[in-house]
């Protein structure tokens, strides 16, 4: 993974010193809250319901055991013993004290982590495929490009004051595991017919108040031109994006208002006029330099272990279930990508204790060349596991409650922190996830339901990404009470789609029974167990499901 050089270190440490100074001036009263708020957001610090929340981006989801140990230490020393993984590959601490932030940032800087641009009107964590570099269906590794872009857009002087926040994602595989079409700019790396690396560029996606899937801006962009092209997009947005209305200032609104054609003309004209071969040469030099950080680890010859793995599965049904749900094929024969489920039914989705973090760091060292990945579903991956080690790793994960065989299944529910933590929330989300997961377990439906993506957001900002869930739940406030809307027919990835609202909201007491009625209907009416829920919804439409959801509750 990327390792800082002296320049990176200087930048991060200068930023820590500067923010520490700003905190001191805030605490003394020299800086008022209005001036300070913007600064603290640009350094990853929200004020939430109970305390300050610190968000630390894990750039493109790549985490080392060393970093994870320090994150565990911070959870223990400065928080309440746990942390939360988010839908944008970040980690969050929910109980931070402002006066301790300088010490926390110093410690993070020591392991090359920084909350720069984690929040606020800035260019946020550039996310990627959690299987980048190891995916069986990988076309080209997006990580060097993600790192390149991270640097290019970190404190880029031209783009420090965009109209609104800006989220980007980049993939390089056949399947899009980074939801690029739900981002302000999404990039897909591929090889063109000549075998040269190129990007497909999408622009103007975003969830939240006005969900939109990004249309394609450009089909083919030579890879080395990507940073300058992105700069051209940002420049057009910076100059022409609306600044008069908080809910109309994302780039998706500009693309929508201008129309894609006109927007494309603006970008292409800007790009053609400012294309600078000197800069492209710098990009290539920098890419060459940091590519060295993303070479594969020293894989061993482990092909023979495939048979071992198969034999284990045959003899152990519980292990077989884990293999089927949580373990993924790897680019390299004899290796696997092993998922760590942070969704034990009844647990808080995405939460992990300091002890679990330490254990995962040890397991990463032992089984995965010291590396982990954060996923968009609030889980983790160990990306380089020998087939012959999977069984033992599973046992260690089981002991720690991290091996629930439910990845991409019904109980792998994505849920934002919601009204239990978040200042912006209009309803609680976690308890709904917990209750639903418990009921599904009780009914034994977890595995039966097959691949099923349930996502819950506690407010219209949609951090739970409910719009792209096969089943989405949006928690609102109606007349002082929590009210939950169901959406159906959403999908992420290459086949992305936005869910449709089923009807009026359900109360806190009614939402889980309504969801269960929908699922029961699906189980009864699906053509075969192989017909996934998302396909069933496409086939039958949402009408029958609407009827069932709003049917009077049975005793």
């Amino acid at each position: 993974m990327y390792r800082y050089d002296a320049f990176d270190r200087e930048l991060v440490h200068a930023r820590v010193r500067q923010f520490a100074d700003q905190i001191a001036r805030r605490l003394s009263g020299e800086l008022d809250e209005d001036s300070f708020r913007r600064l603290r957001l640009l350094n990853g610090l929200y004020l939430q319901l109970h305390a300050y929340m610190l968000r630390v981006p894990i750039p493109y989801g790549v985490l080392s055991s060393r970093k994870l140990r320090v994150l565990a230490e911070i959870a223990e020393r400065h928080d309440r013993g746990y942390a939360h993984f988010t839908t944008r590959q970040n980690i969050q601490f929910h109980w931070i004290r402002l006066e301790e932030v300088p010490a926390i940032l110093e410690r993070l800087a020591e392991v090359e982590l920084t909350p720069i641009q984690a929040c606020g009107n800035s260019i946020r964590n550039i996310t990627s495929d959690p299987q980048a570099g190891v995916a069986a269906d990988e076309i080209a590794d997006p990580r060097p490009w993600a790192e390149l872009l991270r640097q290019y857009l970190t404190l880029n002087p031209e783009f420090l004051f965009l109209p609104r926040k800006f989220k980007m994602a980049i993939t390089g595989a056949v399947r899009d595991r980074a939801l690029i079409r739900a981002h302000d700019v999404g990039l897909r790396l591929y090889r063109d017919p000549e075998g040269a690396l190129a990007f497909e560029v999408y622009v103007g996606g975003g969830l939240g108040r006005t969900p939109m899937l990004a249309p394609r801006l450009r089909a083919h962009l030579p890879a080395a031109e990507m940073p300058a092209y992105v700069a051209a997009i940002l420049r057009v947005y910076n100059l022409h994006g609306r600044r008069d209305h908080l809910y109309k200032s994302r780039i998706k609104i500009l693309v929508h208002d201008l129309g894609l054609e006109r927007f494309r003309e603006e970008v292409e004209r800007e790009y053609a006029a400012s294309r600078d071969s000197e800069e492209i040469a710098l990009v290539e030099a920098e890419l060459a330099r940091l590519s060295a950080c993303f070479r594969p680890p020293p894989y061993e010859e482990a092909r023979g272990e495939e048979k071992v793995l198969a034999a284990r599965a045959a003899g152990d049904p519980a292990f077989a279930r884990f293999l089927a749900a949580n373990v993924f094929r790897h680019r390299v024969a004899g290796y696997r990508i092993v998922g760590v489920s942070l969704k034990p039914p009844g647990g808080v989705p995405g939460d992990v204790s300091a002890a679990q973090m330490r254990l995962l760091a040890d397991l990463a060292d032992r089984f995965s060349f010291g590396e982990l990945r954060t996923t968009h579903e609030q889980n983790l991956l160990l990306p380089h596991v020998r087939a012959g080690d999977v069984h033992e790793l599973w046992q260690r994960l089981e002991e720690a409650g991290l091996a629930t065989p439910n990845l991409a299944r019904a109980t792998d529910i994505v849920s934002c922190p919601g009204l239990d933590y978040c200042n912006l929330a209009t309803a609680r989300s976690i308890p709904v996830a917990q209750e639903l997961a418990r009921r599904l377990e009780e009914k034994g439906w977890s595995a039966r339901l097959g691949p099923l993506d349930i996502r819950i957001s506690g407010c219209i900002n949609a951090c739970g990404q409910h719009h792209v869930g096969h089943i989405g739940v949006l928690g609102l406030e109606k007349r002082g009470r929590e009210s939950y809307q169901i959406t159906l027919g959403g999908n992420d990835g290459t086949d992305a789609a936005l869910g449709r609202v089923l009807g009026p909201g359900f109360s806190r007491e009614e939402i889980v029974p309504a969801l269960l009625r929908i699922l029961e209907f699906y189980l009864a009416r699906r053509r075969a167990p192989e017909e996934r829920f998302v396909d069933f919804v496409r086939r039958s439409g949402i009408e029958p499901l609407r009827e069932v959801a709003y049917a009077p509750a049975r005793a």
Binding site: S28, L47, Y52, R80, E99, D420, Q434, G480
Partner: protein, 105 residues
Amino acid sequence: MSAWILAAQRLRDGRVVYLSASGWSEWLAEATVARTEEARRALEARAKDAMAAAQVVDAAPIEVEERAACPVPVRLRERIRALGPSVHPELQRPTSREGERHVSL
């Protein structure tokens, strides 16, 4: 009848506090209750001073139902702020110094 208390968050650590007779208290039960518009405005004035003095942030009056032992916030959001996250009973705190819990979610 409307009643109000003043809720804020302590600048240095973000913890929820309430304006009480003896300053800013973590204990909901100690919050000073305003029963008139005038009393409420007085609370707001003290909040403004405290924010200007860099003691607290986001100080604002919240509506409560007045009970004998402890005012109870009307909004769920404020009850969650008073107690702690509903999903972590072990992280919740009592509403009085003596360790009682006068509010449910």
